[in-house]
Assembly symmetry: C2
């Protein structure tokens, strides 16, 4: 407490590094709950063997046999610890360790489904670190002050069945059972059919529990922590997102015979728009803008493009800035041109701010361990963002090497994995000890 | 001659429209050889019935059964007129009407193959108008001063077998027989196999004849004549062409989690290049620049583009200007960027200037008829461009409705078709009467 005052504005781990006396004090008095490194890494290795890819990656597409096996692995490990396992009708899994009090429960977890070219950590880390936290209480023979729930939500990735974050959306009541079971893949197969075929869902729920908090450990999936040589990201929110699809229609014509001034070139018009759009991040600080998909028709070297379709993905942590970006995009796309332009909104998600209580618990845990950390915004969407409307929520990030994810090359060091789990555990401890 | 002096710098047909006295004079003294409208339009209709498409277009891909039938139609019509028909080893067809003198021959014609989605006029008009010119001498029972050769060259379009303008390239010795017979389509079938299967080629040639001039009537395939309300284009040359393929390689990354300053966005880099390239026509007058083909990889809305490939098609009537454009393109593509950039040349054709004698003969014929005309450069490639290295060559253009060609909607009015044939006939008359 004294140190906290003295060092306001200065990261304590930096101060501890500079002054050994502080370092000693710092190590002694701040909470440093630590997890079992080998056990956690062992579980990660075991889960990565379910749905393995030859290139070292993992493929456990939601509602597949491999996805079910992955979930069964987690359920069995929960049962080994004596946790009560409940599975809801779409397969969301909850391992429950009852608390000593009637205070609201702390839920921790993530997902175990992957994209087709997935890595070993995206989702899996959050679930297995949660399992490891529960293990800490179990092996000490202690009962947590509040009920602890290890959660694994289905279909976070949304690769085969839309929407993504389906499990947390269903859990938080934002989509109903019918919407989930009627979701259809590109071959016309529904989630309902897969649930039946695999005997995937059950009728359990967490409705009997009063959940107060949700915490998720995840890899960053971006390059910021690595670039700044940090160990932990204290996630204060998730940026909002706006996706639009732009179609520019002109007239196909002979590239050799059509004078420049008589052209209705969908390529020229769309390129001009894209150039202007790409300047917006300079104008609106914090904006991320990506034009990831561009298709030309007829796409021939000697024919003036008749039709160009492109996507615009903008993201910002602040809703007002996101609206400003959308207005500027409209202005650019609606400017007069020789082509006709149509715009379709594909997705819109408001930014989410995590609960201050939970963000502080994460920050305190990172401080307690002396990890190099910063507060940051998540660039990607996560279950915690959906659950934040129900529960006081937060997230812990660890660095992703090269910022790479959704790829077999996805990697975080064992040290960072353990650091993330330690911070998760420490934050859970702080929330357990709260009186509310 | 008097009028010509008086009106120097002023189109005579305009003057004739303003002053009736000039119009009378103009009609009387200038040459107005005219073709048989119904016969020409009849032949066009008949040839369009060979390889018909349901949408009103025509498909006679080179070295197909339909292409052979189209060529046989022309050969038979030539024989009906008493012309000697010679067919060379790859199927180039020559109908010969011997002249009264030993002066060099006048060759006129075009091609009868089409693209897959062809129209009724591209190529066919030039061949059938040539046939009609020959018919004029035959029905008058006259012998032309010079030998007249009606020519139809094979595979001008180059759709199934590359290169395009194959027949005229072979005729002018720029490619040899082996190159032609070994040309292979996408299914691995060679021209040689098709020549044998269809009994297509023979052993005739025009080598016994001393050809002095080549003239080709063709639809414009562009919008200029229509836009300026003109009836005839006096083609003074064909623009040169340079095709390049640009590959920009960056790094795929998550659109949400990757800060703008850490991106290697192949889309951003290529868009910037394209924007700069598109300004070149303003900088280099007369330059036509087209970016017709653009492909993104992985082409996903929420992934930063890893690889963008795009084409650059530039054309100019002047070789020096084309070289300037190529140098400017190199400068733009070689500028430092966060991505790696590779450039491959796909095609390079120097501009061609037609012979002044032939261009003047076309202009005089247009004047003689009082047609509204202008001198112009061909934007597309034609057999006449290849033959111009062997023979003094020229071309006559008529307007294409909407500038559309290579399309079933390709159309020119009967009036323009007849005007074009009249100008061809008049130009041939003038060349016949030359003493050289």
């Amino acid at each position: 407490m004294v140190l906290r005052k003295v060092c306001s504005g200065v990261s304590r781990h930096k101060l501890a590094a500079l002054y050994p006396v502080f370092a000693t004090y710092h190590r002694k008095i701040l909470m440093k709950p630590t997890v079992n490194t080998n056990r956690l890494l062992g579980h990660l290795n075991s889960l990565a063997k379910i749905g393995p890819r030859k290139d070292g990656g993992v493929c456990r597409l939601a509602f597949s046999k491999e996805d079910l096996e992955g979930r069964n692995y987690v359920a069995n490990e929960c049962r080994k610890l004596g946790l009560e396992v409940r599975i809801d009708p779409i397969g969301n899994l909850f391992g429950i360790l009852p608390g000593k009090t009637n205070l609201s429960a702390v839920m921790i977890g993530s997902h175990t489904d992957t994209v087709g070219t997935g890595g070993r950590l995206d989702g899996a880390l959050g679930v297995l670190a949660a399992l490891e936290c529960a293990n800490q209480w179990v092996e000490k023979g202690e009962q947590p002050a509040r009920t602890l729930i290890v959660a694994s939500f289905v279909n976070e990735e949304g690769v085969r069945f839309m929407p993504d974050m389906m499990g947390s959306l269903f859990h938080s009541g934002k989509i109903d059972l019918q919407t989930v079971v009627e979701a259809t893949d590109s071959n016309g197969i529904t989630v309902g059919e897969e649930l039946t075929r695999l005997n995937y869902g059950a009728s359990g729920s967490t409705s009997a529990f009063n959940v107060g908090y949700f915490l998720e450990l995840h890899i960053e999936q971006g390059p910021e922590l690595e670039a700044e040589n940090l160990e932990i990201g204290v996630v204060s929110g998730v940026q909002g997102l706006s996706w639009q699809e732009v179609t520019v229609e002109g007239q196909a014509n002979h590239a050799g015979t059509t004078p420049m001034h008589l052209r209705k070139d969908a390529g020229a018009v769309s390129t001009s728009m894209m150039s202007q759009l790409r300047l917006l991040p300079e104008e609106i600080p914090g904006l991320r803008l990506t034009i990831g998909s561009v298709t030309y028709e007829p796409n021939l070297i000697n024919v003036i493009p008749e039709r160009v379709q492109f996507s615009v993905d903008v993201r910002h942590p602040d809703e007002e800035s996101l609206k400003t970006a959308e207005a500027r995009i409209r202005g650019i796309l609606n400017a007069p041109s020789v082509c006709s332009v149509t715009v379709r909104s594909l997705a819109r998600v408001e930014p989410c701010q995590f609960a201050q209580t939970v963000v502080s618990s994460v920050e305190n845990a990172a401080e307690g361990h002396g990890y190099a950390y910063k507060r940051m915004i998540s660039g990607a969407g996560h279950d915690a963002q959906i659950l934040s409307t129900m529960y006081q929520s937060g997230m812990v990030f660890i660095p992703s090497r090269g910022g790479i994810s959704h790829n077999p090359a996805e990697y975080s060091t064992p040290e960072h994995i353990v650091a993330g789990a330690n911070v998760l555990y420490g934050a859970v401890m702080e929330l357990m000890n709260r009186g509310d």
